[in-house]
Amino acid sequence: MKMIAMDGSNISFFKEGLRLDGRRADEFRPLKIEVGVLARADGSCYVEMGGNKVIAAVYGPREVHPRHLQEATRAIVRYRYNMASFSVEERKRPGPDRRSYELSKVSREALEPVIFTSYYPRSVIDVFVEVLQADAGTRTAGINAASVALADAGIPMKSMISACAAGKVADTIVLDPMKEEDNFGQADMPIAMTPTGQITLLQMDGHLTKDEFHQAMELAIKGCRDIYEIQRKSLIEKYNQLGSELAVVQEAEVL
């Protein structure tokens, strides 16, 4: 089978300071968040970030199966990242591959630090993320959706987690790389953090000087902060939709 070869060398990533999709270097793609989109799950969230379409569901705390996995003093957290066969350009065989195992692990480790697992000994909090359409940045989109789904499920947490990636393309540090920038760029660095700047996910591949790394961190951190505001807004708005006209609602202040 021969596909038309894609060669990044023909692409000019910047035109008059704007990227291929018209963004500036420090902008992330349009982000849409819908809370509570599934009936069976205890909590759920649908996220569109650029061309990414992911849906996260939380079940739990619930009984652990198989029993031997349970822990006497706290809930265990499981995270399963999975891509639908039709989510990528070339149809993917169903089922986990090595990449999805790694993504599941680091994503779980991004969320677990803020979950109060000691409240629910001998139970499991299951997080499932399905990528319905992939467009570079599925893991950060998944973590953003999972964080909202956890709140929607009533899981006690120290704070939300927000995720965003920075990259380097044509020697420029950019926020939230899109597909072409990810494929032909020089570095990709996804991070996740709490609103107060505690980093819970950090991965990087490519080449960055120390200076570039600092720039990329600053950019990604700012991206996460902005994404946090959108996550917050979506949760508050869902509540407003639920209540009748008589509900008294006002956003609380955040440190």
Binding site: A84, S85, F86
Partner: protein, 258 residues
């Protein structure tokens, strides 16, 4: 993981059935509200999201050239798979499809294949060497009952929106996939000798028997499947088949309207 159903719930539902009622007020042959959203996955060649009551099923169609099967060198290939992902239900477990998932995929496939909705010979590119392979991937998102019918509607809806990606492979211009029929699955359950269509999760969990009928646009039957450990009498089966074809016709009409 199976959940024990409270006897009190079974009794309550059964008493309703005896009075000719269902818990949500529907008639025995009435389908829940359904909607079909098309082309929402741009990376796929065709896609459809079906909402049937609260059940949600997403079907994606991908196409790529490949080798034909040795015994059918001039015919395209259809491969249908269903993922009952754990996100969709507290009783779905991660892992390869179990017998329920495999049965669902094979039934959706049966509808498409036996109705000859897709002309497999027209999918031949170079006889004996290259044919189009169509992947129909069913992704269950929310199981609130009767995901099979939702999946079958989703599959044909996705196929109807599919564009053959010829240009991507240097095989000419893209063109809409020719679809010659609209096979639809309609499923009924039996409980305590009462028959009803489009079961929701509660009804499904107490049902003894299920009968699925796959029918084509002209009202012929192109597939059937009885599942469950109960039994059906001949006249029950005839009655189910009659109503099933009627319901399929209504659903098809709603399609062409949309």
């Amino acid at each position: 993981m199976t959940n024990v159903i409270a006897e009190i719930k079974k009794d309550y539902l059964y008493n309703l059935f005896l009075k000719g009622e269902r818990a949500d007020g529907r008639a025995f042959d009435q389908y829940r509200e359904f909607s079909v959203e098309r082309n929402l996955i741009s990376k796929a060649e065709g896609s459809a999201l079906v909402k049937l009551g609260s059940s949600q099923v997403l079907v994606g169609v991908k196409m790529q050239p490949g080798e034909p099967f040795p015994d059918t060198p001039n015919r395209g290939v259809i491969i249908t798979n269903a993922e009952l992902v754990p996100l969709a239900s507290p009783v779905f477990e991660p892992g390869p499809p179990n017998e329920t998932g495999i049965e669902l995929a094979r039934l959706v496939d049966r509808g498409v294949r036996e109705s000859k909705a897709i002309d497999l010979e027209a999918l031949c590119i170079t006889p004996g060497k290259q044919v189009w392979i169509i992947f129909i991937d069913v992704h269950i998102l929310d199981d609130c009952g009767n995901i099979l019918d939702a999946a079958s509607i989703g599959a044909i809806a996705a196929l109807l929106t599919t564009k053959v990606p010829a240009s991507k492979f240097g095989l000419g211009e893209d063109y809409p996939l020719p679809v010659k029929d609209i096979p639809i699955a309609t499923t009924a359950i039996e409980f305590g000798d009462v028959i009803m269509f489009d079961p929701d999760s509660d009804e499904e969990s107490i049902a003894n028997t299920k009968l699925t009928v796959l029918s084509t646009a002209d009202g012929s039957i192109c597939g059937m499947q009885k599942s469950g450990t109960g039994v059906l009498r001949q006249e029950q089966i005839y009655r189910i088949v009659d109503i099933a074809c009627e319901k399929a016709k209504e659903i098809r009409e709603k399609f062409l309207e949309e």
